[in-house]
């Protein structure tokens, strides 16, 4: 458990990551993902609970844990004034690699991450995607057993994100356990074997990714703005395909299973009631909505949502 003042940032979070898998730690912003990584990496103390990483106790054997893990933080934290090569070289020194081993490893990483040409460019002069790649390379200098990625693709353009996901897969294929946080459901589905969903510091669900993905799929959100106030009861009565409805400002958000069918019903009803549709669009439900839905489905067969 971890508190920040009165805020309980992590509340009875309990999980085990198996060697060799990609474990996705999925949750919206502020869920407590970074806090978790910081605790696992020995950067932050917790208020209660036990943490063991690679079989070592994080409090008593912190140095042994750090020797075996790599961390790719949300914000790149390499030395802006040093060149790519010197950054990696320095980390090699800190992790105790011998001179020749260091040189070999640095060359190899620069090659793998397509940065050989940038070897003598200062870190601060790299593009965003390159910075992220070097940060990943930096976490691998000492060939760690586990690598923690904190939202690795956030802020990257689509091709860079794709390249990075491919690299994460490669790293995992070479036997490294990957723990990655993300707020992107698709990314978790794409990459991970196992997924845990964290919302507001609590574990909502955990399991094999395919399983969880199936549960989360389904509902779509249809958002509509009408020209006048709409009585919710008549609307629900007229459009049986709407699973649930709520309104913020002028905008209705309908949870629907079938976009086409529901749209047809709404259009027909609006026509009949003399309403104009000013705006209509579909939205993928936010992670929180999707998982609140899972939670409701899981917790009670008795609940009637309509």
């Amino acid at each position: 458990m971890r508190r920040y003042g009165d805020l309980v940032a992590l509340d009875r979070v309990d999980f085990t990551v198996r060697r060799g898998e990609i474990f996705a730690y999925l949750g919206p912003n502020g869920a407590g993902k970074t806090t978790t990584i910081n605790i696992l990496a020995g950067l932050l103390h917790r208020d209660a609970g036990q943490v063991s990483v690679c079989g070592f106790d994080i409090d008593r054997e912190g140095v042994a844990v750090k020797q075996r893990i790599g961390v790719v933080p949300e914000e790149s934290n390499l030395y802006p004034e040093l060149t790519c090569r010197r950054n990696l070289e320095y980390l090699g020194q800190l992790y105790g690699l011998g001179r020749s081993e260091r040189r070999r490893r640095v060359d190899e990483l620069l090659e793998t991450f397509d940065l050989t040409e940038k070897a003598s460019v200062r870190f601060r002069a790299l593009s965003r995607g390159m910075k992220r790649r070097l940060t990943v390379a930096a976490s691998l200098v000492h060939s760690p057993e586990v690598v923690f990625f904190d939202e690795p693709t956030s802020g990257l353009d689509v091709p860079s994100a794709r390249t990075l996901r491919e690299l994460i897969r490669t790293i995992n294929r070479h036997g490294t356990t990957v723990f990655l946080t993300t707020h992107n459901l698709a990314e978790a589905e794409d990459l991970s074997d196992q997924v845990l969903i964290l919302i507001k510091g609590k574990v909502v669900t955990e399991g094999a990714t395919d399983e969880i993905g199936r549960q989360a799929a389904g509902a779509e959100i249809l958002s509509v703005v009408f020209s006048a106030n709409v009585p919710v009861d008549t609307l629900l009565a007229a459009c049986p395909a709407v699973m649930s409805a709520n309104i913020t400002d002028e905008k209705w958000r309908f949870e629907v299973a079938d976009v086409h069918q529901t749209t047809m019903q709404i259009v027909a009803w609006a026509e009949k009631s003399g309403l104009k549709i000013l705006k209509i669009s579909t939205e993928t439900p936010s992670l929180e909505e999707a998982f609140m839905a899972i939670l409701e489905k899981n917790s009670a067969g008795s609940e009637v949502r309509r």
């Binding site: 950067l43 140095v63 933080p73 934290n77 390499l78 030395y79 980390l91 800190l94 105790g96 930096a138």
Partner: protein
């Protein structure tokens, strides 16, 4: 042993990163050199009474400032996190940072001393004592600078906090005013100021004379202060480095 090697890697990287900026080195030297020159021009016969004090002052300002820079700079840019993630203990990081910060003051003071010896024919009666004073003072000041700097994020905040201590002790540590001339209430403060002991060791090295009857007194006092500030720096680091 492994940890000490890693500490030295940390220092070397710091030296590469921060000292490559020439203005830093020049400014660290310029002020004391000009001050020294002014005193010499005014009255060449008395410059020797203040020279050890000025060298001590160069050490104090250089090292505390450098400690503030090597800590707050990395804290702000987030790179201190890299060190905290690495398999090095907190004491190792403190050691690495202290060596790099202390190296700066030692370098500027040495250049200043060489200048005085060459240009003004300053004597050097007892070089080993001078060196002990230089190194022990350098390490103590660097540690004290770190203890303060690790609490804040901005270099200027650290400098402001440091100035609360640096300027007052300048006047009670025998730099400009001989210890005998201090008012009675200031004496005890002078005795707990590491600058007093550093300056007296430097003075003994230069002139063979000191306010203390033997250099062993300031050596022992400085050794104690060094140990205490080492322990305090470790604690301060554990508490504040990750904020």
């Amino acid at each position: 042993m492994i940890q000490i090697a890693r500490a030295l890697f940390i220092s070397r990287k710091d030296v590469e990163s921060y000292y490559s900026k020439p203005p830093l080195v020049t400014w660290g030297l310029l002020f004391p050199a000009v001050l020294m020159l002014a005193i010499y021009v005014k009255n060449p016969s008395t410059y020797l009474t203040v020279a050890p004090g000025i060298i001590g002052m160069t050490l104090l300002f250089g090292n505390t400032s450098m400690a503030a820079i090597v800590i707050t700079w990395e804290k702000r840019s987030g790179t201190l996190q890299r060190l905290l993630l690495a398999p090095v203990s907190h004491q190792t990081i403190v050691l690495g940072k202290v060596v790099s910060a202390a190296a700066y003051g030692v370098a500027t003071s040495t250049v200043l001393t060489l200048g005085l010896v060459v240009l003004l024919k300053m004597p050097m009666v007892h070089l080993p004592v001078f060196i002990v004073g230089l190194l022990a003072g350098a390490a103590t000041f660097a540690l004290l600078g770190m203890i303060i700097a690790v609490r804040v994020r901005e270099v200027f905040e650290a400098m402001t906090l440091l100035n609360f201590f640096r300027f007052p002790i300048l006047f009670i540590s025998g730099v400009f005013m001989p210890l005998d001339a201090l008012p009675a209430w200031a004496r005890p403060i002078a005795m707990v100021s590491p600058l007093t002991h550093t300056v007296e060791l430097l003075r003994f090295g230069v002139t063979g004379q000191s306010w203390f009857p033997t250099p062993w007194i300031p050596i022992l006092v400085l050794a104690t202060m060094l140990t205490v500030s080492w322990l305090l720096a470790g604690t301060a680091f554990r508490r504040h480095a990750n904020r």
